[in-house]
């Protein structure tokens, strides 16, 4: 049995929509949307994929029921709606960062930890005869977390949008919600609890497990996505340096470059003679980790490097895609 195409669901609106398109484009997987009014698109790099734009929660539902075989959503969404048929294909795309946190009114100066909150919940029950009211869109994660922390006297208040205002309006005492920078919390006189991080979330790729197991086309589409993404993410960690050296002893240059961990590169330098100059010289190409760049340049100068040019590394393909290897194990 074959599929005509593999459906890849992407967020259509909200905080993850544009960053997802930018991320894919950076990875060489530019999404083309022939008609802005339609909810479909194409990725010319992988012709078997048809893109379907959905709201970020619906991406999960579509992948869970198999309408889409692959999708991009947030880890918070995946953990809030655990589903046997959903597998995380790549959980570290390094954008869309946010945290699901417990926040209480700033004026609660006696509350800084979850243990404090547990005691306040008891106070509510004993002194006011009611439960602590928690406003959240994340009922499953909130309930699981609060119980795991010994807080049992609470009532979840389901709310959509503007959850931060719930304590001020008066329909909740505390909130459990996503935080990116904390500005919105501060504006609403709320503070996060120091040990109240429930999920440290970011964007992820998910897949429909039965489809990945059953259809080679889906597994292959996942492999191609992961090859590009892994190589692009890996590439972001490095610069490619081209350095000119004077002299006529390439062996000595190579030995000195390899001696320093900052310049030894992925597998050592490539050295080629420079032709047409007034004196003997070699050009060396070496891959250097971002964090070691200035240290590497300083070192290359001390061993005779004259001019250095630096280029970003678009892709760094390893022997195989580590994320794809992990996916195969997870299946």
């Amino acid at each position: 049995m074959n599929l005509d195409h593999v459906t890849f669901a992407l967020p259509s609106k909200g905080a993850m929509a544009d960053p997802t398109l930018n991320f894919l484009s950076d990875c060489g997987l530019r999404v083309e949307k022939p008609n802005p009014r339609q909810y479909t698109g194409l990725i010319s790099t992988i012709p078997s994929i048809e893109v379907l734009f959905q709201r970020v929660n619906d991406v999960l539902y579509k992948v869970a029921d198999g309408t889409a075989q692959l999708g991009v959503t947030g880890l918070d969404v995946v953990y809030e709606h655990p589903h046997d048929d959903v597998v995380v294909v790549h959980g570290d795309l390094r954008y869309g960062h946010c945290k699901l946190i417990v926040a209480v009114p700033e004026a609660w100066i006696d509350v800084s930890s979850i243990l404090d909150l547990a005691e306040v919940a008891l106070d509510f029950r004993e002194q006011q005869g009611r439960n602590l009211r928690v406003a959240t869109k994340y009922a499953h994660l909130a309930r699981k977390f609060l119980h795991s922390q010994g807080i049992h006297q609470f009532t979840l208040v389901n709310a959509e949008g503007a959850i931060e205002a719930a304590p001020v309006i008066g329909y909740a005492d505390v909130i459990i919600d996503l935080m990116q920078t904390g500005t919105t919390l501060r504006e609403n006189h709320l503070k996060p609890l120091e040990d109240g991080v429930i999920v440290d979330s970011q964007a992820c790729i998910i897949g429909n497990r039965p489809a990945l197991q059953k259809y080679p086309e889906v597994l292959n589409a996942a492999r191609m996505l992961l090859e590009y993404i892994d190589a692009a993410l890996q590439g972001k960690k490095y610069f490619q340096l081209t350095v000119n050296f004077k002299g006529n002893n390439p062996q000595s240059i190579a030995e000195q470059i390899i001696r320093n961990p900052a310049t030894q590169g992925l597998q050592g330098p490539t050295i080629a003679p420079i032709f047409g100059g007034q004196q003997d010289g070699y050009t060396v190409t070496v891959i250097v980790a971002n964090r070691d760049l200035l240290h590497a340049i300083d070192y290359l100068r001390t061993i005779g490097g004259t001019q250095t040019t630096v280029s970003p590394v678009r892709y760094a393909f390893l022997e195989s895609s580590p994320s794809f290897e992990q996916l195969l194990k997870a299946l």
Partner: protein, 457 residues
């Protein structure tokens, strides 16, 4: 308890236990399996709540019942205004549930419970302990230990250190951790709870005073979300007092650790417990007299000291206990029953405090102790049939069943189970005029003899 258990044996044991409880005058009641989760969340220990089977219906969190006591307490509170004979004696039986999906074990167990509501006297405690112990013995487990503890004793002990009620509760909730992980773990949790207090403007003692408006940054009332400035002040003072009482808590935990080592007969344990108490711990000493009195009542029920062990720090999974707590174990250490006094539970569902004591018998423990999980020794008479003689086989099966013989028809090619068991018999069909039983031919006119023989098995 195994997922599959012989229903005949299980129900026979349940019936025997229920009859014992009947003889004490307990009315049989049913509670619903599905209940609002709040009922159990209010007073269950963390250990129970982690395993509560919950789900949501119409925005309300529901639970599969993990026990009967909370349901009984709520039912009593609802009847409070109608004429309820005091005290009431109720018994319950049925499946209870826990979510053990993380350990991949069994979700459903069977339990039998009894509740005596409205009698504060130790005679009520003794009756409940005795019912549990007599029931267990009646079904054939005579070699048992009744382990007795007292939450009242623990509370009196902690009150003697002048620890505030929250700290007392904190210690009682952490008794299990104290015995498993030691004093250091409990203190680390305590320190986390006591930390993070802004410094009061005077000394950090019980008279600590705070300039609250400045600390609250002139926050408007709506920014306090359901609390008042006075609530916050009270709690900060409470935290301050608690932080100042750390050294006292350490002393209390050290005394508890020594008490924790006691696990002996009343004759041995009571003097040891008294020796560990100081003269000013008068309430704790008095509650030891209550424990002694309870032991005497149990002696009157026929349970000698050989069967009773005192464990002063015995902690149970439910937080609603206020007085006597007990567990019944076989000599092999299998837990078969437990319970205690819960005088403050009914007030949560009603208007006033009603004394109450209850117990539960764990059928999974009993099943293990009685080896009920083995199903292979059931009496079986197998009648072999082939496609050719099936009509005749059915005719014989019907004749046997009419005469009260339990017959199971099997295919003749199936391998015979271990026929050396005396409880397994084999019939082979020849014609409507004769049948082979264990290889011996019986003619139609020998039918009555054969029926008598099979019925006697």
């Amino acid at each position: 308890m195994q997922l599959i258990i012989s229903q005949t044996k299980l129900h026979s044991v349940i019936a025997q236990v229920q009859k014992v409880i009947d003889t004490f005058g307990y009315t049989r009641l049913e509670t619903q399996i599905i209940q609002p989760a709040d009922l159990f969340l209010t007073k269950a220990g963390d250990h129970i709540i982690q395993k509560l089977f919950t789900f949501e219906r119409s925005g309300r969190q529901m639970a599969l019942r993990p026990e009967f006591t909370a349901s009984a307490a709520k039912f009593y509170a609802e009847q409070e205004n109608t004429a309820v004979d005091i005290p009431v004696r109720w018994q319950f039986a049925g499946p209870i549930f826990e979510d053990t999906s993380h350990s991949n074990t069994i979700y459903q167990r069977y339990s039998i419970g009894a509740e005596l509501i409205g009698w504060a006297d130790l005679r009520a405690d003794a009756e409940i302990v005795a019912i549990a112990a007599v029931s267990v013995q009646k079904i054939g487990i005579s070699d048992i230990y009744i382990n007795l503890g007292s939450v009242q004793f623990m509370r009196a002990l902690l009150a003697s250190y002048a620890l505030d009620t929250r700290t007392q509760r904190f210690v009682i909730d952490h008794l299990f951790h104290l015995s498993k992980e030691g004093k250091g773990y409990v203190l680390e949790r305590f320190d986390r709870l006591a930390s993070g207090i802004p410094s009061p403007s005077s000394s950090p003692d019980t008279n600590a005073s705070y300039n609250l408006p400045s600390l609250l940054g002139d926050a408007p009332a709506h920014a306090l979300a359901g609390r008042t400035a006075a609530d916050i002040l009270r709690r900060m003072q409470g935290k301050s007092i608690r932080a100042a009482s750390r050294s006292v808590l350490v002393a209390a935990l050290e005394q508890l650790e020594r008490l924790n080592e006691i696990n002996a007969s009343p004759e041995q344990a009571l003097p040891q417990m008294r020796a560990l108490l100081t003269h000013n711990q008068t309430d704790a000493l008095a509650s030891l007299d209550s424990l002694q009195a309870l032991v005497t009542f149990l002696n009157h029920y026929g349970f000698t000291s050989d069967h009773i062990r005192l464990q002063p720090t015995l902690a149970r999974d439910w937080n609603y206990y206020t007085g006597t707590v007990f567990e019944i174990q076989t000599h092999d250490g299998i837990l078969v029953a437990g319970g205690g006094r819960y005088d403050e539970l009914i007030r949560l569902f009603g208007t006033h405090v009603v004394p109450a004591v209850g117990m539960a018998i764990h059928m999974d423990g009993l099943a293990t102790a009685l080896s009920l999980n083995k199903t292979d020794d059931e009496q079986k008479i197998y009648l072999q049939s082939t496609a050719q003689n099936h009509e005749t086989a059915l005719w014989w099966a019907t004749e046997f069943r009419k005469n009260g013989v339990l017959v199971t028809v099997v295919d003749a090619t199936h391998p015979m189970p271990n026929s050396s068991s005396e409880r397994i018999g084999w019939l082979q069909v020849t014609t409507k005029d004769s049948v082979l039983y264990q290889g011996q031919r019986f003619e139609k006119n020998d039918f009555d003899t054969l029926v008598t023989m099979l019925s006697r098995r």
